[in-house]
Symmetry: C2
């Protein structure tokens, strides 16, 4: 089974590691526009061979794990060149535009749009981890547009990696994910910015910052190359979440200003409910 990983970073690299473990007959071919990443991925035994996009005609499965703007160009090209039985999957954080762009492609039925909800704040092949996907959710969009045999092949892989599957249309995916993922990244980046701007003397930050700050600002370490195109593609939804977030922050500020501490208490008490919601989600710590 020849599996091509396009983009051998955290996400693609971690998939490669688990697929190699789960499928003994898998040969992993790596493609990346960063030669250092390819060499590193080979050195770390994440991939077996380095190859180029021209060779995808030989692939049984192609997994595209690159920034979502580049995916819009690369995935149609890959579909042009793969064989009739090849499964092409993307794993990006936005789903509407990619589904839209390939909806009339002659090989649409070779494509499956997925979003494994897993990751860390790190990037590149050195960040790849075994078992990253174990116990996590994978959101699959427009499954009915993928050939039955090919989505079956995909489900077999995700099942062996220990993932839960959830089906969703692309627009709903992008709307919900703006709340539970994209907004968190912005809140974290802007928190980091606010503190860095103020605390010119970094020693002060280091000494006084505890585990709470580290946790809240963790996502501000994420890759701008990966995240800029995500915000671009999901702009409308992200602006909506940001408006609601800013509104809530301003409301909290007004309560503070008005000394309305009973209401501040109530706001926090109500939000404590997040405990029950999050039970079961494992926080990944790599600091």
């Amino acid at each position: 089974m020849k599996i091509f990983i396009v983009g051998v970073g955290l996400i693609g690299g971690s998939l490669a590691l688990d697929i190699k473990d789960a499928f003994k007959n898998a040969i992993i071919y790596g493609i990346d526009n960063n030669d250092k990443h390819l060499t590193k991925a080979k050195e770390l035994h994440i991939i077996d061979e380095i190859t180029t996009i021209e060779d995808v005609i030989d692939a049984d499965i192609v997994i595209v794990s690159i920034p979502v703007n580049t995916s819009l160009k690369v995935i149609p090209e890959i579909l042009n060149n793969v064989s009739d039985n090849c499964l092409v999957m993307d794993v990006g954080s936005t789903k509407t535009q990619i589904c839209e762009i390939i909806k009339n492609h002659p090989k649409r039925r070779n494509f499956l749009a997925t979003h494994p909800i897993a990751g860390t704040e790190f990037s590149g092949p050195s960040a790849a981890l075994k078992k990253l996907y174990n116990g996590k959710t994978n959101i699959i969009c427009e499954v009915e547009k993928t050939a039955f045999k090919l989505q079956e092949k995909a489900l077999e892989i995700f099942s062996k990696l220990g993932m839960r599957i959830r089906y969703m249309d692309a627009k709903s995916h992008d709307k919900h994910i703006a709340y539970v993922s994209h907004l968190s990244h912005i809140s974290s980046f802007m928190l980091g910015k606010t503190v860095i701007e103020k605390e010119k003397n970094e020693r002060d930050i280091f000494d006084m910052a505890g585990s709470g700050f580290a946790s809240t600002v963790r996502l501000a370490k994420s890759s701008p190359e990966m995240w800029t195109p995500i915000f671009e593609q999901n702009k409308e939804n992200v602006i909506e979440t940001l408006d609601e977030y800013i509104h809530n922050l301003k409301h909290f500020r007004e309560l503070l200003k008005d000394n309305n501490f009973s209401e501040i208490h109530a706001e926090m008490k109500n939000t404590n409910h997040i405990k029950q919601i999050l039970n079961g989600i494992q926080e990944i710590t790599l600091l």
Copy 2:
């Protein structure tokens, strides 16, 4: 050595556990207005005896770990009643008001204002942890106002618990801590609120939320009883940090709206610098 812990929750309970391990002659007396917490603390061997505030006359050391508004009332009372050689310490997240309120107290030199930068999002005696303070920073304010022998006794304890000491005046403490701790709590609480409000169907949150969201929203599990008075006491500084945070979020929103993605990339790239700043801070995960 008779050590009285006033407030046998996460912070006081964790101190008690480590002090018992470090000082074999320590007898820990617990005081709390919550009888269930006292019973639980005794059951968990966090405290040796249950007692009341009237008995502090017998104490060698009193550690006050209760909400910071209650501290303002309780600490002067404790100082009224302790012996001349007793060390009284508080461990609250705000320092200006407590230092102000006791500045002319006849037993001012028996008091030491401290803030160990450690904790989790949980509360109560069941949340108490051994080694919580190991490797963490303890900020000590106005050390010159404490009797030399008594601050020496405090430093011996903190040293045995593995803490780094940093001296600071109370006003500076409250200003800096607003950025690296209090603002994080508000950003996290309001993020939780925004997502809960939107995602009425909790199953959607649970399925789609990953480790990133869990990490960013972790502090929204914190105790409103503890945090409301902290925001009240540090209101001016907190409003200032909130204004800067909201300003940065609005700026990011405008960049998005204007499709200025090169600037969005630059904002994130600059903030990635938080990686270097945070190196060495351990994130505590208990999910």
